[in-house]
Amino acid sequence: MKKYLAYIGVIVVIVILAAYFLVFYKAPETAPKRIVIYAYNDRITGIDPSLEDDTGLVVLGAVYETLTYYDHVTGEVKPRLAINWTSSEDGREWVFYLRRGVFFHDGTPFNATAVKISVERARDIYRETGRGLGYIWDAVEEVEIIDEYTVKFKLSYPQRLDLLASAAYAAYIFSPRVLEYSKASHYTDKALEEWFNRGNAVGTGPYKLVSYDPMREVRLEKFNEWWGWKEINNPHAPDVVIIKIITDPPAQYSGLIAGEVDIACSVPRETVKDLVSRGFKVINQSTYHNFILFFNTRRYPTNITEFRLAIAHAINISTVISQAILGFGTPASGVIPRGFPGHVEGLTYPYDLEKARELLRKAGVEIPVKIELLYQVDYEETNKFAMIFKSFMKDLGIEVELIPQDWARLKDIAKGVWTDPENTPHLIVADWWPTIPSPFDYLYTMLHSESKEWNFAGYVNPEFDSLIYEAWELEGVDYKLALKKYEEAQRIIYREAPVIGLWDEIRPYVHSNRVELPEGALNPMYMYVVRFELVRVRS
């Protein structure tokens, strides 16, 4: 009997406690905060401001600042941490005048020393180990501090340093005190890199890093001492930003519907209409993210120019765009996307089956022929493209074997074009987004014969190589002439077709009515970065 009473007693106590908490408990009241939840589609690969090369950009772009900012609408370079700059006639000396009254998140004043160490760190690590994207500072021979707010760059060859200083990677300025915090012996010490990647950041940006879990979420908090608040005058800016990692597009869709995501960058494209009908707003953002088809130029039959051109003319890109990406793209003209410096119109291959067949005859390739297509399996659009492409090639009598792979394996297989071309697929679909606002970024990386890690075509053309190096140096002296050289280089690529541009992506950013994303909050140069300081949160 006693035993039963004890049981009943325990149950009664549990029930009373549960009822009490359910009925009377209220969440502790705290000051209302404007919280914005941004659903991002990948886990964060690191937040070292000098070394990060990938998804960390989404955090770096909010926490750190660069000397200059690339305005994608006007194509101009705008002041940021530098308010003005001048260059010598030969483009080998650049002086940047820095903004005064700027503070890092730790309270340290921003000055020329911070610029010097930030640039030198990215450059030196690249020079010593080849790591990161510090190649953008390759020309910098010396960073000279003229005074607290003036810094002079001496270059070994002419460069558009104002453009380079606005890069999406490797151009962020961090507090000189990070050395002390991380107990690193030098700025290139590995201990500093590990300190950053453990979730530490000391930038000057409008938001400071509060918590960092690269697998789940990153939390940012408004930095009230940011110099720009008085300039943008946005009293409705979020107090807290949560960058929530939601890798599955359907889950981003559900997040919006559930009211737990305010801004989503990767909803399934087929759900966009539904979201609009539910009252969500969509910004169809033109991006510099494009998809490219590489031909293995070192293996038969894709080593024959006419064969490559035949394939180019047999792809109906409008069908691809409407079916594979539901209209969220524009047909590419060359490998440099629309709106990006150096883009050239008219570098498309019109869909013309007759012409394709004629080129095929000229190529002398016996039909039927079998070729392989390597593509990224975790991109919905490349999967669909592969299917559609296969049916296009059937019209030409070309059989396509599809080889889906994830990115890491795709890259490993694709670069085999240099060492084992006979066992590397004939065609590879890859995508790209830039680091610096220069055509060099696309053309050098994907097509220069030195770039053995990314030139999946195995393309070698000394004339093209020297043209883009020439243009790269000319950027610092005669920008217009440099663009002409880049155009010339692109016309060579158009004629020889070692690669063909497929489409430039349009990315639908969907947001709820709780927030407003004004123009300028998204910039294709800084992929996936939302300028939260411009976002308005409705109370």
Partner: protein, 343 residues
């Protein structure tokens, strides 16, 4: 003492060998497949320095050494608890793994706290009404439940909740509520963490969110346990001691509690343990793909995509250890509660 020291030592040695075998096999497989971890570790280098960067990264990761040396070093690192940093995320592998494990484990614990009693009650009821209408309904239901694809059911639950109740069971926690109530994860088990902090708003929020996926995953253990319990109870009811008790006029509820249910606990524990590890796979599939919860499945897949062999291997090893520990615990528990079992 139902468990001998000899048995325990044997079991530990065997488990150690299994883990070693899993490491050697998985490491070899992961290293031999295309996808160079050194590229990611070097930061996807571009420009003329790229080749040097990848070479240095390969050296730093020890990938330039013969395979057997790499494996030996990795085994040493695993057993000294120093697997290093994740290739893709540059944070300690243990942090990546722990973060994924706690989420999935919490979901599974809730699933079984719900699924086991339901399965046992249904099975017992069915056995007591065997041959009747209720029995056939429950038996049919059990077969349907055990053979329902979890992924499909998860989608159906999601659609029903959304269409009928206008609720989207999404994610693990309400981010805004967590900030507003100053919730701080401690162990990674949010239900526990919120209780420890006395944050009942977050507790209720996390609890409500865990129910739909738990419901989807629980159908398998409910189906299996219902069938097993029915058989066990039916058999127990025919035992001599039970029949004698009935003849002596002992109360029906006493017979059920004292003679029947007590005797079926050990096999129920064993079956629950086995299906727990099976449900782990179900959880890995539905948690992130349907309910937007982070967990083991998405992290494992992602690490494979990104050639992050350290995270992939750590997850495989910890899952193996988890499997072994659960099974060992079940055996020990069985020996402890069933005097007939000697280990």
């Amino acid at each position: 003492m139902p468990i001998s020291l000899n048995y325990l030592l044997k079991r530990i040695l065997l488990s150690f060998l299994v883990v070693l075998g899993v490491i050697v096999f998985s490491y070899t497989l992961l290293i031999l497949t295309p996808g160079d971890p050194a590229v990611k570790w070097a930061g996807n280098p571009r420009g003329p320095g790229a080749v040097l960067a990848i070479e240095l990264a390969r050296r730093e990761l020890g990938l330039d050494q013969p395979l057997h040396v790499q494996i030996a070093k990795f085994i040493y690192n695993v057993f000294t608890g120093n697997i290093g940093l994740s290739i893709a995320y540059k944070v300690p592998v243990t942090q990546v793994v722990a973060s994924a494990f706690t989420s999935t484990l919490e979901l599974l614990i809730v699933t079984y706290l719900f699924g086991v009693p339901v399965g046992v009650v249904l099975g017992t009821y069915s056995a007591l009404r065997r041959g009747g209408r209720a029995d056939s309904i429950i038996q049919t239901l059990a077969v349907v439940l055990a053979s329902t694809p979890t992924f499909w059911l998860a989608l159906i639950i999601m659609i029903i909740l959304q269409a009928v109740f206008g609720v989207v069971p999404y994610g693990r926690i309400d981010g805004r509520l967590a900030i507003a109530t100053n919730f701080k994860p401690i162990t990674g088990f949010y239900l526990l963490d919120s209780l420890v902090q006395g944050n009942y708003a977050v507790f209720m929020d996390v609890f409500v969110r865990v129910i739909p996926p738990a419901l989807a995953i629980s159908v398998y253990p409910i189906g299996v346990l219902t069938r097993v319990t029915r058989t066990l109870v039916a058999e127990a009811l025919l035992e001599d001691n039970v029949r004698a008790a009935v003849a002596w006029g002992v109360k029906r509820s006493t017979i059920l509690r004292r003679y029947v249910l007590r005797s079926i606990i050990p096999p129920i524990v064993q079956i629950s343990g086995l299906s727990f590890t099976y449900s782990l796979v179900d959880a890995m599939v539905v948690e992130s793909m349907v309910f937007g919860r982070e967990g083991l499945g998405s992290v494992l897949l992602d690490s494979l995509h990104k050639a992050d062999f350290r995270v992939s291997l750590a997850l495989i090893i910890y899952l193996t250890i988890f499997y072994i520990v659960v099974n060992t615990l079940v055996d020990i528990l069985q020996a402890t509660i069933d005097p007939r079992v000697r280990l």
